[in-house]
């Protein structure tokens, strides 16, 4: 029947356009959900238990988070393995780390810890990932929207996020390799909103029998030098450069940090001194890839939760300005 074919032919472009505009709108909506998810982790008050899986390693962590007067207060208690408590107030992080007969206090800078994994500035992510709505699932007793973050190239992994349908809190996140295998997963087993603004929980469990010592092995100074990484992998930008004083090393180690908004990579540079064993080669541990080589008398080591290709590309692009 020719008329039927004509009708189909006429309908096809219309249907096709409708499909395209629908995905465009949907993706904008999904980015709005992402924005809500990024803010919710920072602005809501909640308490819960989450589990982090990476390869064979599993850690349970108890989290309490309160947003009060524009400041964020978080306590993370690592429940498996060695006792460890992590306190953060805004960007300042203090860690109480039980090590044998003493407790080491470490200071850190701001990090995007779960569930505040997504950056509040989504622009860099929009450049490097496409969003796809997967469906709805229940996580930790809450209904969640499942969204895939699909990378535009093979220089980064794929992520899947579960965002609480009501509150927007990130309930779960997983990292997948190019074949779709889960490399890393972090998610709530149980979570509840808090209706108190009380901060009496914001203190470590003090063990009076142990001495508390400050960890001073690392010195954070922001530096600039003659190091150049000419062509960074697409979408990656240098976000920081710090200088580490490592015990047993005569010269400080430079650490350059690159990020595409979500994944991060460190480049370590240190002068080779007599007796230092050169490290050359690559290694893969779960989601973390390492690439080491020696250039102009410097040891270079690149480490990141990115595909092997990305760490290798960064290592190959390092040059020294005259």
């Amino acid at each position: 029947m020719p008329s039927k074919y004509d009708f189909r032919r006429a309908c096809l472009p219309v249907l096709f356009l409708a499909a395209i505009s629908q995905t465009v709108v949907a993706e904008e909506d999904l980015w709005a959900t992402m924005q809500k998810t990024a803010s919710a982790a920072r602005e809501l008050n909640y308490q819960g238990l989450f589990v982090y899986h990476n390869g064979a390693m599993i850690r349970s962590v108890q989290i309490t988070h309160i947003y009060e007067g524009g400041r964020e207060f978080t306590r993370n208690v690592v429940l498996d393995g060695r006792p460890r408590e992590v306190f953060s107030e805004g960007d300042d992080i203090v860690i109480f780390n039980a090590k044998n007969d003493k407790v080491v206090i470490e200071k850190r800078r701001g990090q995007n810890l779960f569930p505040a994994m997504l950056p509040t500035q989504l622009y860099p992510l929009k450049q490097n990932y496409k969003l796809k709505f997967v469906g709805q699932e229940r996580i930790a007793g809450r209904l969640a929207q499942v969204i895939d973050m699909i990378p535009n190239d093979n220089l980064r992994y794929q992520y899947r996020i579960w965002s609480d349908t009501e509150y927007g809190l990130l309930l779960k996140m997983s990292m997948l390799d190019i074949e779709g295998h889960t490399l890393e997963q972090i998610g709530f087993n149980q979570v509840a909103m808090l209706h108190t603004k009380d901060l009496d929980w914001f203190q470590p469990k003090i063990d009076a029998t142990k001495p508390y010592v400050m960890d001073d092995t690392t010195d954070l100074t922001h530096t600039v030098d003659n190091l150049v990484v000419a062509n960074l992998p697409t979408g990656y930008k240098k976000v920081d450069q710090i200088q580490l004083k490592v015990p047993g090393r005569t010269a400080p180690v430079q650490q350059l940090i690159f990020s595409d908004g979500l994944a991060s990579v460190s480049l370590f540079v240190e002068p080779m001194v007599k007796g230092m064993q050169p490290r050359v080669g690559k290694k893969s541990m779960g989601s973390t890839n390492v690439y080491a080589h020696v250039l102009n008398g410097y040891q270079l080591v690149v480490v990141g939760e990115v595909p092997a290709q990305t760490v290798e590309q960064i290592a190959q692009q390092v040059t020294f300005k005259k």
């Binding site: 990476n54 962590v61 995007n112 990579v265 460190s266 080669g281 080491a292 480490v303």
Partner: protein
């Protein structure tokens, strides 16, 4: 020991964890002989007919010809042997290369960049860098992994 050696030859164990087998292979004649025997057995099983004495004698002949034993010649010898046994993967060849090096040439073959470029870094070699990365890089869920490296370092 022989059981472990057999597993190594069959590629069932991690090369990086077999330092002690290489040491034993170097030090005791029995294990060294077993190493050669197992390779022959494996090759026969895999229908990879290759005569063991041929490799040994060829390498010995090469070495006799070159008493100064410069590293590039050592590499050339290694390359030639690779051609004799094209069925072996690069990875399993690196096992044989390290043992051959330990037997006949000494350690300096390992210092050749051609060999090291494809090498895997030993287990604990870069731990401190990985820990530093997890400590100072943002967006790192691996932060909770910290404990593992800490335990390994003690």
């Amino acid at each position: 020991m022989k059981q472990q050696l057999s597993a190594l030859v069959d590629g069932e164990v991690d090369v990086e964890r077999c330092e002690h087998i290489f040491l034993a292979a170097k030090s005791t004649g029995e294990v060294a002989q077993a190493w050669r025997d197992y390779h022959v057995i494996r090759d026969v099983i895999r229908d990879d007919c290759w005569v063991e004495s041929e490799m040994t004698s060829r390498i010995m002949a090469q070495l006799d010809d070159e008493p100064t034993m410069l590293a590039p010649q050592a590499m050339a010898a290694a390359d030639k042997v690779t051609h004799i046994r094209p069925r072996l993967s690069k990875y399993s060849w690196s096992i044989a290369a390290s043992v051959a090096a330990a037997f006949f040439v000494g350690m300096f073959v390992l210092n050749q960049p051609e060999v090291t470029a494809t090498m895997q870094i030993a287990d604990n070699d870069t731990d401190e860098y990985v820990v530093a990365h997890h400590n100072y890089a943002p967006n790192s869920a691996t932060y909770y992994m910290h404990n593992v490296a800490y335990n390994a370092g003690e």
